[in-house]
Subunit: 352 residues, 4 copies
C-alpha cells in the first residue's frame, strides 16, 4: 500500500437555494464536487428560480431511519416463524441491547422475511447525526450474539443479508424506509417557466410522463423515475464527506409534476437519502468547513443537523432535475449546454 | 457561483493485483479514492491472493458499447412500427450520420420499443477511449435531425428517453449492453482460502447463495447480486476521473461462486462498466498521472486503453468482493475490521 | 351479450399428498384443471415422494392478510405527511369503520407512500375465509368517505392506487404481505432422490442456483425464483373456484434447496397465495364439491378453511416444482415427458 | 390419479368489438371464461365504444417470436465468450438444426448472457400458429445436442435457464421479445367519454399517471403499468384453450393515454401475448368451436390465425382496461359495479 494522497475533485458552490419546509427555512449555497461540470449551471438555474418564488423549494421530511438485515439459518421455516413471534414480544429487550451498544443508536422496529429455512431480520434504527452504517452493524452484531445465545434453533448466517440493503438498487428501501425520506416541491409560475426555463408546464409534464415514468418502466427500472438525481447526489455527497456509494439507493426517486393552469408543480421524492454530519469522512478539514458553511454543525438535538443536510440535498436535486427536464423539452439544448460548459468539443473528437 | 475549489477525497494505491485475460497480462497497483477507508485493506487482501495464484484474476471482456435512447412521438403505433422497419433498412445511412459527427463514434446497432404512440430508439455506439456520453448525445442529436426531416409522422420527444439508461438502476443495460461487459474470475486453492481468508469454499458459496442471490431477490433487487461492488467502483472511478454517477449501473453485477473440491471458484460479472481514458475529468493532472501509472495512456488502437482500464476495474471489484464475503462468513469479523481501519470507535458513539 | 356457457377445462385429481405443519396434518388428493396436461404426472411424482417421507411436505403458514391501497391527492407533501401521522393515531376509529362494513373484515394495519403531493394508503385486512377482494374494496370505500370528510386537504384519487397491488407483478406484496404467506418444505432422503427423481441432491441444488436464482436475476425477474409455480397454481385455482388472475403475484415465490450430505432439502416459499373458500366462484357446484373433498368446507373458526386450502396449494406447488427441477437435471428428460403426456408429437409439427 | 373431469368455468361472449389494424379489419364477439363476472360488462362497455368510433380499436402487431434459453456450463468466461462468437458465425447451421426438428419452427436469432462460467443462450423462433412452447423446447434440445458435441469446453446445464422466461414476471421478455407484441389504440371523442364513460379525458389521463405509472413504480412493479390486464387475458385464454399460466408475462403491459383537446387517446401495449390456434388444449371441442367462431381457424399462411387471435386479445384487454379506469375516476362506482354483477353482497358478509 502506498502513501496517502487524494483525488482532488473539482468543487463549486452553487446557488443559493431558497428552502423552506418542516426542517429548515433558509437560503443556502450548496457545494458540488464532480467531474461533470454542467451540473453546476444546471443546479444554478434551478436555484435562481427557487429564489424567485414565494416559499422556494419546500422540503418535507417524511421519515428517518437506518437499517441492517441480519441473516440467520433456522432448523426449518416453523422454527424461524416462531422465533419471529417471540422476538416481537421481546422488543423492549432487543432495544436495550441496541441502546447499550452506542450513545446514539436506538432500535425503532424490525421486519422479517422467511424463505425456506432462512430468516432475514431487518432492524431499523435511529442513529443521531451519523448516517449510521457502523452503528447499525455494531448493534446488529450485539443482537446476533444475544439471539443466538437464546435461540438454539437458529445459527449465524451473515451480519448482512442484503435485505438491508446497502448500496444496491432494490425495492425494499423505499417501501420499508432506509435513510431520510424527503419530498422537495416547487411551484413555478407560468411567466418564470417561460422566461427562465424556455418551455411550458405542459411540455415538462408531458416529458416527465414519457421519459421518467414510461421510459424508466420500459427499461425495467425499479422505483426509479427521474432524469439524473445521481449527478446532483454524487456532487453533494463528495462535497460533504458522505459515502457516495450510497447514491445508488439515493438516486432511486420519483419526479412527479403537474400542469396547474400553466404554472408548473414540480416535485422530487427521495426516500433513501443516507447522509450524516458526523462519522467517517466528516473529520476532513474541507468537509468540516463545508458542513459548517451549510449550517449543519450547529448545536442542535441529535439528528437535526443530519436532517437539515438531507433537506438541502433534496432541494439541490430538485434544482438540477428541473433544469435538465426543461432543457430536454427543447431539441438541441442539452448538447449546446454541454458544449458550453465542458472543454472545447474538438478535444472530444467532435467534427464541426 | 463561487471560486473553483476541490473536494480532496483520500486516495491510496492498493495492490498490486495480478491480472490476465483477453485484455491485459500485467500486475498493477490500483488507486482508490474514498471516505470509506476499510475498502483499501479489503481490496489489498484480495490483491495478495491474486498474486499467489497462477493466472491471478482472469478478466474477460465480453462486450463494449455505449448507448443513447431518443424518444419520438408518432402519429400512432403503426406509424412508429413502419418507421422502425424503414430505419432498419436505412442502417448504413444512419451510420454515416454518426461517423460524420465525430472522429471516434461509430453506430453498431439499435433497438426499439413502441408503447402506444411513443417510439424509443436506443442507439448503440463504439466511442473509442471515451466513456462516450457526449459523443452519444451529439450523434443522437444528429440522428434526430435527420429522422425528423424525413419522417413526417414522427415528432421530437426527448434527446434521452430513459431507455438508454444513464445512471439509473434498470434491467435494460445488462440485457442489451451498455458500457464494457467484463467477467473477472479467480480460482483460490483450498490452502489459500483457509490461510488468507480464514474460511472455506463451501462457506463462501453458501453465503453467496443466501445473501447475494436470495437476499437480493427478497429485497426486490434488479440484476444486482453482490455484496458491495459500489464501494470499489466509487473509489476507482474517483481516482481515475470517471463520472462516478455511473457506479449506479456499474454496480449492477452478479457474484457467482463454486466449491471445486475445496478450491474456491469466485467470479464477478460486471456488464455495465462505463469508463474512459479521455474526455471529461481526464485532463486533471492527478487523473492523467493515475491513468498513466495504470498504463492506460499508451499508444494503442482506439478503445484499447479504456478496455484495459475496465479490466483493471473489474479485477479490483473482485478483490474487494472476495474479501468482504470471506469476512462475513465469520461472526464478528466485519465489525472488527471497521473498528481497526476507521477512527477510534468512541468518536462514533460506541460504548465500550 | 350471449347465453351463459362454460369453458370445460380438463381436471384431474392427483396425489394424494402427505401434508403436515402448523395448518393441517393430512393426506389429500388435489384437483388440477389445466390444458397443460404434463402438470398432472409432474405433481403426481412429487406426491408419491411426499408419502414416502416421514412428515411429508411440511407447510408453514407465516402470514395472512389482504390489502387495498387507496390513492389520495393532497395539497402538498406536508399535508399528506401530517395526515398520515394523524391517521396513525386514529387507528381504532379506522378499524371501527372497517368492522362496521362487513361481518368478516378487520383492519390490522396500514402502510403509506408519499410521492410529491400524492398519498397512497395501503390498508391491511383479515377477511375470514374469503380471498377478500370485494371486502377490501368495500372497506376501502368506507375509509375514503370517512377520511375525505374529515381531512379538507385531501381529495379522492382512486379506490385502487396499484400499490395494493392486485394481479400485477411487483415487489410490494411479498415485502409487506398480501394473501397467505406459506413455506412448503420437504426433505428427501438420498435413496429416494436417486430412485424416484433419477438425480442427486447436489445436481438439484446446482440447477436451482443457476436457473432459478441466477437465471431469474439475469432476466430482470422480480422476487420470482422458481421454475413453474404458475402451472400448479393455475390448475389448483381453476379447480377450486379461485380468481386465477391472482396467480400473477401467487407465482412470485422462491425455491430454496440444500444438499444435506446427499439428502435433499427442498423448499418453496409462496408469500402471496390469494385464495378463499367462500365468495365469487365458490358457489358453483363442482367448486363446492371440490372444496368439500379437500376438507375446506368444515365448521371451523373463520379463516381456517382458507388457510387449509392455501397450505394444500403450497404443497401442490412443491410437488410439481420438485419434479420439474429433477427432470431438468437430466438432458432430454423434459421433452420425453411432454411427448409422453401430450398428444402425439407429429400433430405438433415435429419431424421424427 | 382419478377419472378425467373438468372445471366448468363460466363463459360469456361479449361485444362485438370493432377491430382494425395491420392484422384484421372485423367486428368480433369475444369469449371470456372467468369466475370474475364483472369482467363481462366491463369489456362490454369498451366494446360498445369501439363500435361507435370510426376505426374501432386499432391493433398493430409489432413483433412475433417464441424463445427458449438453454443454460450451459463453460470451463470459464473466456470459453463461453469464444463459443458465442463462433456460434454467431455458425447461425445458418443452427438454423438448419431447428428447421429439421419441426415443420413449423424456424430460428430467427439468439441472444446470450455470460455470468461467470455460465452461458445462457436465448434462442428465438417463429412457430407458425402454435404458441410454440414445445416446438421451442424440442428445437432447443436438438441445439444442445449439436453444440455439446462440437464444443468440448461446454457442458449441459439446463434445457431451460429461466432467461427465456416462461410464466415468470421479468424484464427480459418485453425488452428482447417473447410472444406477440401488440399495441391496441382507441381514440374516444369527447362526447362519448362523457356519455358512455361518465368522465373526462383529463381525469383518465391523470388517473393513469398516478395509478398505473406512479403507483406501479412505487410497488416495485416491473414493466407492468396497467389496472387489470390479467383479468381479461385470463378469461380470453381459458376460452380459447391457451395455457393461461402465460398471463403472467402477458399482463406485463403498459397503458398510455393522452388528453387530445378533450378527446381521449387510450392505448394498451402488450408485448408478450403468447397464444396459438393449434397445439395443446386447442383440440377440445369447445375450444375448436370458439376459435372457429373467432375466425381463427381459416386457411391462412402459417402464423396468421395466431396473430389474428393475438390482435383480438389485445383489443379485448383495451376494452376492459378503459372501462375500469373510467370507473375508478368516480368515487364509489367500482363497488357499485361489483355489487350489481356479483351475487348479493349480503352473502359476502357485507353489512347494509
Amino acid at each position: 500500500m502506498s502513501e496517502p494522497a487524494c483525488a482532488a475533485v473539482p468543487l463549486q458552490w452553487v446557488g443559493p437555494i431558497r428552502i423552506t419546509g418542516n426542517v429548515l427555512d433558509d437560503t443556502v449555497e450548496v457545494p458540488l464536487a464532480t467531474y461533470e461540470s454542467p451540473v453546476w449551471p444546471s443546479v444554478g438555474r434551478g436555484a435562481r428560480i427557487s429564489r424567485a418564488v414565494a416559499h422556494g423549494v419546500v422540503a418535507t421530511l417524511v421519515d428517518d431511519r437506518m437499517t441492517r438485515s441480519i441473516l440467520l439459518e433456522a432448523d426449518d421455516a416453523y422454527t424461524a416463524h416462531t422465533a419471529v413471534q417471540r422476538l416481537s414480544a421481546e422488543f423492549p429487550h432487543l432495544r436495550e441491547i441496541v441502546t447499550a451498544s452506542s450513545h446514539y443508536a436506538d432500535l425503532i422496529g424490525f421486519h422479517h422475511q422467511i424463505t425456506g429455512n432462512l430468516l432475514f431480520l431487518r432492524f431499523e434504527f435511529t442513529t443521531g447525526d451519523a448516517s449510521g452504517h457502523n452503528m447499525a452493524t455494531l448493534a446488529a452484531e450485539r443482537l446476533i450474539d444475544d439471539i443466538l445465545l437464546r435461540y438454539p434453533g437458529l445459527r449465524y448466517g451473515s451480519i448482512s443479508g442484503n435485505y438491508c440493503t446497502d448500496k444496491k438498487a432494490s425495492a425494499v428501501n423505499a417501501i420499508l424506509g432506509r435513510g431520510k425520506n424527503l419530498v422537495a416541491e416547487l411551484v413555478v409560475p407560468q411567466p418564470l417557466v417561460h422566461e427562465r426555463l424556455h418551455t411550458t408546464a405542459a411540455r415538462i409534464v408531458e416529458l416527465n410522463i414519457r421519459k421518467n415514468l414510461i421510459g424508466t418502466l420500459l427499461a425495467g427500472g425499479i422505483r426509479s423515475a427521474n432524469a439524473h438525481y445521481a449527478n446532483m447526489l454524487l456532487g453533494f455527497y463528495l462535497a460533504t464527506g458522505q459515502d457516495a456509494a450510497n447514491i445508488i439507493e439515493g438516486s432511486q426517486g420519483i419526479t412527479h409534476t403537474e400542469d396547474r393552469d400553466g404554472d408548473l408543480y414540480f416535485s422530487c421524492t427521495l426516500p433513501n437519502l443516507i447522509v450524516g454530519t458526523i462519522g467517517n469522512g466528516k473529520q476532513l478539514p474541507f468537509v468540516t468547513e463545508n458542513l459548517t458553511r451549510l449550517g449543519c454543525r450547529e448545536h442542535r438535538p441529535p439528528g437535526d443537523n443530519a436532517r437539515r443536510l438531507a433537506a438541502i440535498a433534496a432541494a439541490t436535486v430538485l434544482c438540477g432535475e428541473l433544469s435538465l427536464l426543461a432543457a430536454q423539452t427543447n431539441p438541441g439544448e442539452l448538447m449546446r449546454a454541454h458544449t458550453r460548459y465542458e472543454r472545447p468539443a474538438t478535444h472530444n473528437g467532435t467534427k464541426p
